[in-house]
Each structure stands twice: as C-alpha cells, then as structure tokens.
C-alpha cells in the first residue's frame, strides 16, 4: 500500500519521534516495542480527531490502542491514498462499530453522532437521526447496519475515499 519506500521510512521516523527513547533505530532483530495509546493519540494527525481512540483501538494488536510499529504502519497504509476502497470501508466500519459486535447498531450510531457533533444535539434529536440513518442504509431491514450495508452506502458517497485519508 505504501508504494514508495520513502513513505515507509517517513512513517518509521514519525513513529520513532513519538518516543525516541523507546524506539530503537535498528529494527533488524525486531524488538518488541509497543507505544502506549497516550503517545499515539497525541500525534498531530490524530490529536483532534474525535475518533482517535477508536482508530488506535481498531488498528492495535491488543485492542487497547497501544501500537507496535507494524500496527502503526497498518494504520497509515489503510488511511493512505492508495488503499483500496474495500479496505478503507472495512476499517471505517470497524471504527464506527464501537462495541465490536460486527454491526453498527443504534448505540454505535449514537456514539458516532455525539462524537461528530460534540454533544450538541439533544438525546431526542440524536435518536431521530440514528433512526433515520438506519432506515436509509439498512438494506436488509434487520435494524442495524452490517458491513454490506455499510459498503453499499460507501459506494454512493464518493467523497468517502478522499475524506477517509490522513496525510502524513
């Protein structure tokens, strides 16, 4: 995904810059270094992103947002320009699926809405919006959005490709 080696090197330095004392420059013997979420979440690229914790959780091996270099590379390769649409959709789905139940259900949507609007909507409004979203995007009528529903929706939102993208 990171077609250019330069990107990889750049990403490695970014990773190392987060904690120069922890991350060795020499990775030949594959040291088991894991950076805590606090460091990952403080990157300028993620710092203000309302979904930063989710992103880190989804891409981290332990599910708590602590990342190894591989996880870090994974994350930015999915969020890079070159990543295919399906891959992006899959991870976006995981990000919005807060409770990891493989469906975006109403509670997930509520969390998303609150994150997107910084809790500015009243609970009734949030409820209404979530219902509308499910009504619109739920092709199979099971009251929650599956990955297929989500992908189906993504196709019709061409902006998704350019917005689900973090520049390094």
């Amino acid at each position: 995904m990171l077609g250019v080696d330069k990107n990889l090197v750049e990403l490695f330095y970014r990773y190392r810059d987060l904690a120069p004392q922890l991350v060795p420059l020499d990775y030949t013997d594959k040291p088991a270094v894991t950076l805590p979420y606090e460091l990952i979440g403080s990157m300028p690229e993620l710092k203000d992103n309302p979904f930063r914790q989710r992103i880190a959780e989804v891409f981290s091996e332990d599910g708590d947002g602590n990342m190894t270099l591989d996880d870090f590379l994974d994350m930015f390769s999915v969020l890079s320009e070159m990543a295919p649409r399906d891959l992006k959709a899959y991870y976006a789905f995981k990000i919005y699926d807060f409770n990891n139940d493989d469906y975006i259900c109403k509670s997930d949507l509520e969390k998303t809405v609150n994150k997107l609007t910084r809790n500015e909507l009243t609970p009734e409004e949030v409820n209404l919006v979530c219902e509308k979203v499910i009504y619109e995007a739920d092709v199979d009528n099971d009251g929650k959005l599956s990955l297929e529903d989500f992908q189906h929706m993504i196709i019709r939102a061409p902006d998704f490709l350019s917005t689900f993208h973090i520049r390094i």
Binding site: K6, N100, V139, R156
Partner: protein, 879 residues
Amino acid sequence: MSYHYNEAFENPDYHFSETLEIDRRRSSQKNLFSHQTPYDSSLHGSYGEQSGRGQNYPLEIPMASMRHGSEYSEDLPRANVLSRSPYGSSMYNPSFEPEPELAYTSPPAFHPLDRSYTHRISNVSEDSFIRRRSRRPPDEIFMTSSSLFEIDPVRKEELLYYYPKIWICHGFYAEEDLVGNLASMSTSERIKAIQKMPETMKKKREIRNKVLKEITKKSRHHSTQLSCCTQCLQGTAVSFRRFGNSLSECFHLLWFWHRALKIIGAKFGTSVLSYFIFLKWLLTFNIFSFLINFSFITIPQFVAAEPNNLSFTGLELFTGAGYFQQTVLYYGFYTNATISKIENGPSYNMRLAYIFTVGLYFVICFFILLFSMAKSFCRNFLNLQTYSGNASKLLCTWDFNITNEKAVKLKQKNLSTQIKEDLTEVNREVLNFSVKERAVRIVIHLVSWIASLGTAVAACAGVYFLSINNLKLFVKGNKNDLESQAAMLVLPIAASLLNAFIPFFYSWLGCLERYQTPGHHVYVTIVRNIVLKISIVGILCYYWVNIVAESESQCWETLIGQDIYRLVLVDFIFCLLGSFFGEFLRRIIGTTVCVSLGPPEFDIGRNVLDLIYAQTLTWIGILFSPLLPGIQFISFSIVFYVKKVSLMMNCQPPRKVWKTAQMTTSFMFLLFFPSFVGVLCVIGVTVWRLKPSEECGPFRGLSSMYTAVSEWIKMLENHTASKWVVWIYHNLITSALFFFILSIIALIITYLCWKIIQGRKTTIKLLRKQIINRCSSLYDPPRQPAQHVPDYPGAAFDRNQNASYEELWSQAVIIDYAPGVCPGGGDSAPAKTRPLEQGPFATKGLLVFCWPLRASHNGGDDSSHERAGQKLVEGMTYT
C-alpha cells in the same frame, strides 16, 4: 482468478451459518438426520492441529494433545474473551450464551429462522470476530474451521462446495489453498490481492513469504534451467522499479506541495483541498508541456538563432511586444530552415518539428484528459443516485484530513446545525406552490436567465469592438510610443474585468431566484459563469482567426501570441488582486466593520473556473507562443502560494457540505469539454485553413501549416525505406473511409455499452424491489418456531424462498458494487449457486460475495453461473 477477499469473510454469517450449526449438532448428537457415512478420521489428521476449541464437541480423535498452549481451555467462559475488548462490560447481552453447546443442545424444536437463535449466532460470531481482531495466534483463529472438521467427509465436501470462503480464511487447508491461488496470480495481481486483505501487516507478510516460497518451489519444479532471458527480464523489471522509486523520490522533493496540501487539508478539509489539488495537477500539466515544447522546438531554435536587435525597456514584460517579438517566445521568431550543424550530417526540420510537437502534445493531452476524466467518473459516479440523506452524511462525511483543533470544532458545529436543519426539514412538507406562485417563479427564472445570457452577449460585443479597435492600433504602426503600448492592455484588462465582476452579478441573480437546494444554485451559477467565460474566449478566437489572420499585418501569429500573453498576464494579476480585495479586504470588513458577516469563505467554484479559463488561454496560445506553458507554470505557482497564504490568513472553512468528489469530476469534465475541445477546434482551423504569414515563422511561404506535412510525405515517397509512413499517411490518416469505419465501430461499442448499462440498471432496480419485498415478508410476520428442521413440511419452501433471497441480495450488491466486474464477468471465476433444497439460511448476506469462488471446487464450469443468471431472471419475472 479473482480473489475477493475483502468483503467476504468478515461476514460472520459465513462461518456461523445455520447450516454449520446444524451440522455440528448432527455430528455431536447423532440424531435422526445425521449422515450415515462412516467417519473418516484420516482426513482430520492433517487439520487436527488447528483445533483451538475443538474439545467443546464430542470428538473422534483426541484433540487435547494438539493444542498449542492455547489459553482457551474448554472451561474458559467466553465472557473472558469479551472482556478483553474495551467495551467488554457494555457489551453484555442478555441472550448471550457463554457455552456454545447450550445453543447446540438446546431443545430440538428450533427453526432456522428463529430469531433468538440468529441472535445467538451473532454472539458467537462476535466472539470470533474479537478474537480475530485481537490477533490471536492462528490456532485460535481457526477454531471455526476446526469445529467443522468433525463433520463427516461428505458433509465437509458439501460444505466446501458451498462455503469455500470459510476454508480460504479459516484453516490451514484454506491457507494452503490461498497461497496456491496467490502463487498462480501475476505479480501485480498478487500484490493487489494481498493488499486488499484486511489483515495485519504481520499476517500479510507471512502470507507473502509463503507465496514466494511456493513460487520458487514451483519454478524450480517446472523449469530447473531458469533461462537467462527471464532472469534478464526480471533484472530489468527490478531496475525499472528502482528507477521508478527514485523518480518518485525526486518528486517527493517537491516537499513544499505536500506540506502545503497537508496544512490546507488539516485546516479547511477536502473541499478546499480539491481546488489546490486541481491547481497542482494543472501545474504539472504545464511543466510537462513546457518541457516538450522547450526541448523539441526551442532548443533547436537556439542553435539557429538570429541576433535580436530590439531594445528592452521593461514595459515589454506587460505587453509582451517589442523586444519579445524577436525571441523564442513567439511563433514569428522560429526559422523555416532545416537546421544542420554538420555538412551532410543529420538535419532537423523546424517545420516538421513544430507541427509534430504541437500535434503530438495535443494528442497526449487529449488522452491524459480523457483517461483522468474517465477514471474520475467511474470512481465518483459509480452510482448516480447518491445518498442525499443522513446515512452517508453521518458516517462518510467526517473528514479525517482535518487535524486542526479549531477546524474540528467548526466542522462539528456545522455538522450539528446541518443535522438540526435536516431534522426540521423532515417535518416540513414539500412546498406546494400555487399556480400563481409557480408562474412567478418561472418568470423570475426566465428573467434571470435572459439577464445572464444578455450580459454575456453584451460582454462579448464589448470585447469584440475593443479588439477591432486594438487591431487598428497595431496596423497603424508606431508601436513604440507609450500610449499605444498602454492601449494594447485595454483589451485584456477589459476582458479580465468582465470575468471578475460579472460572476458577482450572477451569484446575486442566483440569490434572487431562491433555488430550493443549494446544490442547484451552485450548478446554475457555474453554468452561467462557464457560458460567460467560454463566450468571451470564443469571441476572441473568432477575432483572431477571422480578423487578425486576414489583416495585412506583418506576422499575425505573433500578434495573436502577444494578445494571449497579455490576457494570461492580466488574468494572473487580476487573480492576485482578487485574492487581495476579495479575501483580504473582505476579511477586514467582515471582522471589523460589519462583524455579522464574518470572515469570507473560499469560493471554490469561482476559483476553479478561473483556472480553467487560464488553462484554455494557454492551450490556444501554444501554437502561437510555444513557451506560454512555462509562463503559465510560473504564474500558477505564484497563484498557489498567494492563494494558500490568503486562505490561511483570511478565510474560514466552508460551511456547506460540498460534494467534493463530484465537483472535481465535473470540473475535469468542464476542462475537457468546452475548454479543450474548443481549443482543438481553433487549432484545427488555424492549421488546416489559415494561410500562414509570408515573412515570419516556420511555415512562411506555405498555403497552410498542414502543407508542411503533405510536402514531407511527398518527399518521402521517393525513399523506398519509408514507404510504410507514406502508406499509413495515405490509407489511415488522410483516408475518410478509415475514419468513417473507426467512428462506426466506436459508435457501435458505445451503443452496446450503453445498452449493457441500461440492462444492469433495470436489473438493479428489480433486484432492489425484490429485496424490499423479501425483507418485509421475512421480517415482518413473527415467525413460529418449527418442530423439526428437516421434516418440517414447509421447510423446503421456506428455505427456497430464503435462499433465493440470499442470491438476489448478493447479486444486487455485486452488480451495484462493481458494475464492471459483474458475476462471471472479467476475471471472476464461475459462480456457484446453492441447490435450494440444501441447508437453510437464517441470516442474510450469506451468499453475498460468494460469487467469485475458486474454480478448483467445481472444476470451473461456466454453466453454473448461467444457471444462476437464469434463476435470477426467473425470480424477477415471478414478481
């Protein structure tokens, strides 16, 4: 071979389908419908080692010894797994069963469509999902498959037939298969397939290494003597890739762009960013054309340059006249001679170089534009009926580019106001206008259209008379006095003024009209602006082609080149002034004098149209002033800087949701259609119809520029070595018949494609309708749990219905998802349909993406795909 790893195997329903559960139960309970086939333990030996949780089921072979120190012992409650997730506690589900056996040994009276059962299944899948995401070692990941291995072989074969994906993703066997499949792909395909897997880097690396091992094994096996030819090829491929890498690193040196784009994206989001990306694209485009023109036209000209005896005062920079007339900047300076430095050595024919360079440049341009437009179209207009609703607004609009704290807050605020507006709109009924109101609206629209077109016509008339005036000045001579030089600038200034101020009038008109949707407003305004700009350029072209070219001036091509130079320059200056007055002063006013206005927003539409206008001028000018792209490159770079600084200092992020992707596509289209195609027409007329001036330029003395080519061909006819060029020229390029046939073929292909698209569209529509019908019939009436699954008399029918629903759904999604690679089309392997009387499905989406299955299991018969199609059509006609 197509490997649609991506979408399919995340679907938990794959590995936890009803059928599987039933099968497990069969093997464990040995009830009346279990298979009588003797258990073949030999098959399991090879798979036994993946058993993570196999002990949960009655087993024929001892599994405990094969555990890989898995922490999941048989008595480990599932809740433990769940609590690993940060939301573990919140995930508690009352219907959750910690031990899967409970589900399987539950009273025999359950029906495949029993809802609570489905629910349990989803819990199970949930579990597996978390495991997968929590990156357990493979032995645990494959627990699903391991549980399947207890099924007797016949069932397994059957299952393999219907759920190959399971095996692909979950199991050693599957992995081997996957590796084999990947190994048989071409390198680029394989890389793509591996990239598409939603797996961790580690896993991907593992797979890749295995694949590579497999490949080397195979190649050693097949051809022990690796021919030096392939080695050579590989060597060149590697060095080529290295070259590409280093080239892209060179481009990375343009670090400035990258950083600037990142900052802009972080602060203003993708919509504003798209303007800058467009600008960057034009910039590279201009560099490219400059390099071509410079190397093939200008450098040879330097060799044969004549001394320039005109004086340089400085004012020429603005007018482009005087000193510059005798430089490589303009057509008139180029020689018509054949340049050869060495006697009898290779020579360089300036005429041919000029015409071929420009011609080839336009051909390349045409294809670049066409392809980037087509790419953009197929990426962004995959489905024309985009969601206007909330779903995508909510889940797809968050702009991950934005990393600036203020921008994030603003974006959140905008989103919440938007959602609020939408909610109020729901309650509001669609406005029903009375007849009178409607009439008034129509009249308003009519009047504003008349007004806008009228202004465009008036602007054109003004430009036309000014330009006629201008020409008189030229012809009169006395070019050197200041007054006439200033007068030369009148025309470009007037054109730029019109271009700058009429858009404001148009947007005011748009406000008067009060369109129902903002999108409508934007599009109407853009259409009007485009009409204005193109008609101004059009009238100028008319003036150049019909009046300047016929005038008795010494070198009309240079005159046109100068005109265009001035237009480009003044347009550039106006662009700078525009960002000063339009943005800087507007911000001062908005923040100090009239606070309610606030800082201005960046007007993407207007700015992009300005770029398109400038690029059109450059294209027209290439023939008359070959170095114009270089000038345009400089001016675009400055515009990039200035716009960026002005944006950072003055503007605020746009409030409206701007459909960036679609807008970019339409801008690309605008650049192609009126702009580039118009330029081609003008250039065509100039090259084929107009008589070049007698005393200057490479084509002096010819009846038209094109004559240079036909004379060259005539000359070639004498050489036997180049007969083929003559043949191509006579039979292809100048032959009307060839073009007639070519266009007929193109038309036929277009028509066919169009029809195919229409067919697909109707299919999608019908399928969607059917899904809705099916869904309502499936989910609405509460289902009665049946007594016996297989003996239940209605079961067959029910399953039938259900299964066809699955198929329809999968079809719908696939057709919708990738119109180009419909089932069976392209590289996808023949699809498989499930015999409907086989195991029932309770959860939907099971067969989705099952289409491009591996051919290895059905021997690759194409007929199954056709059968599926037939069934589908029958199903559709049924409703």
